[in-house]
Symmetry: C2
């Protein structure tokens, strides 16, 4: 459990800490307990992008564009509608799934962790865009409206375009995002990682000052090596592939448990 | 933890069980450990229904019907499109949200618990329909396709209509469904329940022979008293309202933890 035990109860801990007065130890313990431990959550290499230019003139795209009453350059790539024309795209198995980003964001943003402002979410996309998500944003539950919103975001760079934005789009690599965030520990969830229960993995990062979790926002395949190099630890929490939204909801819940948030909220003792 | 401790380790337990031979106790312990504990998951009073007849002739519905190229009687009620015409419907705040059912089902069906065939899902609707969901069904991730599938289900009563069905629709009350299931314990998640952590609530039911969890498949309001009467226990796991898909994913994950499924899957020792 991440809640630090009061050092006076632990003979070993106390021995290590001798030289400090009782009041100093008490203050450290209180500080550690009250410290706000923000979790940074990154949906990485997400399958979210505008329709690539080389597809704009394809008849299937033109039909979809007419139905949506929007020019192809302002549409998102979506396998549900563009499956048959996606074969020509490099790495297409990882692309065109805005629904994955939609579900994962809904899971993340409706969590008690986010309601407590202890969660910061970023969506990094397959083409190196980064969406900075304000914890207060209320995303549409309806998929078509979510797609419309993302299309607007790619067009204007922020949402809402006219007042203080709740979603901001930047052209940025994952490396550059990490330089901004300055994490103390990056935990990546990938089938290439060591088999470990989610609980074990998350308890560990809950002790960190600035923990970052990185989850793939794509349907198949693996993180690129460039992304994996950014991780301090890679874990695989199941023997089968899990959906992005499953991992998202579980990681956030397990982090809440690790910082005793469910109990704190029920007892009304939230920081 | 639900994994029963070996009785020889517990003096008290052993004392209670005297009269049984060591081998008998061992067999009981092995049986309890290996027993398949199926969780029945009911999304109750869900906001899923065909467009009510009284709305069919409304101009907004007619426009939507023309766009979908489908007669109004075969469309679902959906607040995203029918918000302005829903005011005349009784209890409308609880209706017209197929997206809630969609997300909750995706969460439930993609869980390791379901992959192990330890989950049985039913969707009970606001108008007393029950959908029996085959654990092997692969639902569309795309919302429009999911809506199309549900429309087909309300039209034909089963999906696929021509071979052994993966989704079956019956006209049935929650009471009648419970008579079929014969649960040993029904746990309802509702803000009217006792404040309790999810862990506490789920550990308790994991000892049951046939536990049922009941979660509201609607956006606002409460279960009807008729539904609440079916519950053996009502719990509220947070001080704020949580989304249906949040509770769904957490309950299932917590149940997996309670039966040690994550560890069992990682060690390859699943029943």
């Amino acid at each position: 459990m991440p809640k630090p035990s009061f050092p006076f109860n632990k003979k070993k801990g106390l021995a290590k800490l001798k030289g400090f007065s009782g009041i100093e130890l008490l203050l450290v313990w209180v500080f550690l307990n009250l410290m706000i431990k923000l979790l940074t959550f990154i949906l990485a290499e997400s399958a979210l992008e505008p329709l690539p230019k080389k597809l704009w003139k394809h008849p299937i795209v033109k039909r979809h564009s007419a139905k949506r009453e929007k020019s192809p350059e302002f549409l998102l790539l979506d396998r549900s509608y563009h499956h048959s024309v996606m074969k020509s795209l490099k790495g297409n198995e990882k692309r065109g799934r805005p629904d994955i980003v939609h579900f994962a964001l809904l899971e993340a943003l409706s969590s008690p962790l986010n309601k407590e402002r202890l969660l910061q979410v970023y969506v990094h996309t397959v083409n190196d865009h980064v969406i900075t998500v304000d914890p207060q944003v209320r995303l549409p539950k309806n998929y078509s409206r979510f797609v419309g919103l993302m299309e607007q975001l790619f067009e204007f760079g922020k949402i809402p375009p006219t007042r203080s934005p709740l979603l901001i789009l930047t052209h940025e690599t994952l490396q550059s995002l990490f330089q901004r965030i300055k994490p103390t520990f990056v935990l990546a969830f990938t089938r290439k990682g060591l088999l470990r229960t989610l609980e074990e993995a998350v308890v560990k990062i809950s002790h960190e000052e600035k923990p970052v979790v990185m989850i793939g926002g794509f349907p198949h395949g693996h993180f690129s090596n460039k992304s994996l190099k950014l991780a301090d630890e890679m874990v695989s929490i199941d023997v089968e592939m899990l959906e992005t939204w499953t991992v998202t909801s579980r990681v956030i819940y397990e982090y809440e448990r690790a910082i005793s948030l469910p109990k704190k909220r029920l007892s009304g003792s939230v920081i």
